[in-house]
């Protein structure tokens, strides 16, 4: 069995990888699609929305919600893998 310290290190490294990927998507949908490349995307249309405008006022928000729930899922799985999940009943009052 690995020592607590190496376990913690590996856990933290994996956490940072998740953060990096999720924040990249966070940046891409809001600052990328909604601001920097808005004009380019506006040439496409979904229904009555120009695409860049849609990302800025609707799409980015939907993606933000999904991102947090993906993070919750990934981290719960990671906690379980390293045994850091609080399932110990004695801690609940």
């Amino acid at each position: 069995m690995k020592s607590q310290k190496t376990k913690a290190k590996a856990y933290w490294r994996q956490n940072l990888i998740y953060l990096f990927v999720l924040l990249f998507i966070w940046f891409a949908v809001s600052y990328g699609a909604g601001i920097l490349f808005k004009e380019e995307l506006d040439q496409f249309q979904i229904g009555g929305f120009k695409l860049g405008f849609w990302f800025a006022q609707q799409g980015s928000i939907y993606v933000f919600v999904i991102l947090i729930f993906v993070y919750v899922y990934l981290m719960n799985r990671l906690d379980a893998k390293y045994g850091f999940n609080d399932t110990n009943k004695s801690e609940t009052p």
Binding site: Y31, A56, I61, I68, Y71, M75, D86
Partner: protein, 570 residues
Amino acid sequence: MSVQTWTFIIVGLTFALYIGIAIWSKASSTKDFYVAGGGVSPWANGMATAADWMSAASFISMAGIIAFAGYDGSVYLMGWTGGYVLLALLLAPYLRKFGKFTVPDFIGDRYYSKTARIVAVVCAIIVSFTYVAGQMRGVGVVFSRFLEVDINLGVVIGMIIVLFYAVLGGMKGITYTQVAQYCVLIFAFMVPAIFISIQMTGNPVPQVGMGSTLADGSGTYLLEKLNGLSTELGFSEYTNGTKSKMDVFAITFALMVGTAGLPHVIIRFFTVKRVRDARKSAGIALLLIAILYTTAPAVAVFAKTNLLNTVSDQPYAEMPEWFKNWEDTGLLTFEDKNQNGTIQYVANPELNELTVDRDIMVLANPEIANLPAWVIALVAAGGLAAALSTAAGLLLVISSSISHDLIKKVFNPKISEKGELTAARISAAVAVVIAGYFGINPPGFVAAVVALAFGLAAASFFPAIVLGIFYKKMNKEGAITGMIVGISLMLFYMLKFKFGIFDGGKEAVEGLKDQWWFGISPEGFGTIAMIVNFVVSLTVNAFTQSPPQEVQEIVEDIRIPSGAGKALEK
């Protein structure tokens, strides 16, 4: 029944509900008062966070601002939701694991210094007062329009209600009233939005209706129609902005980072039981917030189109009743410059005859669309719920900063549990009175003031907290200098370019726009101040001593989620 009778009934019922909850959830210990006992479920905390977060600015002002700013209004939509991603990924789980009562608690312990704690207290108080002033003003607007009481009396009534449940129940009372307030405000926001969406596009989902064709059978898309109307009157196209890309970028970033750094939002995550609950409730909070935030831009489009259709080039004598009602409040003014009796609403300020305060769009919207009286009354109750829930959360930050961080941790560590609880209650009461003063003498309109609070939070807390978690070797010298430099720079920029105090007052503000640094407005300057904070912190850190071993161990410990239940018992 008249709108006013309905408003008295609905507002009266909701207030009775809040007071009932306050009595039921009276705080009996400091732990109850600061973190609601620490056992709030993720759903309850998610709902409370959403209400805590969505203020008078979100409910009353935001859709109105977007209606007039079009694409530029996206900064608020992305900024005030995207911050939750930062909060959930970078802050909430670790601060919950750390498990104390306040944000200055974290700063003080992590940076092993009373000075750091006091600097954090000062920052928390500046941020929270800036923010709370906007809420009280929102309460006043609603009262004066719907209950036809004086705007100042409205503020006083709001103060008494908040005083009652914040002082009595502390965080515990606030949490459960916020759960109720979320339900009231989301219902109040959605009902008229759905009605109007059906009216205008035939689609009951406002988010979809916004991108649909008009219900008049013309086959024109609503947004196309609005773009057409806007350009006809000399405004820029609704779906294109007028702000520079740089400024849009900076404002969005400042709002996001500020969201993650606002103490009244952060402390909500101290109230759940485990780290995984903190993550989950951040997700639930954003989901519940997103319901309003994706509807608001639709409401903006509906309201703007309706307004242009109703007033543009129409005879003043034929204006409906709501027009006169809002004129009485002074928030809508018509000046017949060419004396022809019709309303010219155009971009050119020389010819324009109509001024519409942006704060009234959501409140007037149901009337403009001819919705039933009870819907209009519901909107009033929703606006009050939004303003009161946020005000209460902010007042708790102010009171706990004083009673816990200043009195207990700095000046009088021997104070008894009972004494600290009394101190917390007294400081909450004093804070309410000061907030009320700002509400009666407001420093500007709601969202503008609130937007500045984000810059202040971004410039002070965010770097200190993130570095405290992600950089083990971050020391006190760096963090303290960073916070002081960051918030001072932001305050300076705000006073210079928003209030013009160095150049002869508010009139000078317009002329100073050319001098904005990098073309960034005061609202977006939090981004620059935050970067400066990071740079100063890391530079000072490089030349001073590393933090002691036990502090580095605290950092290692907060990165591991297990065992959070115990932390609070310490």
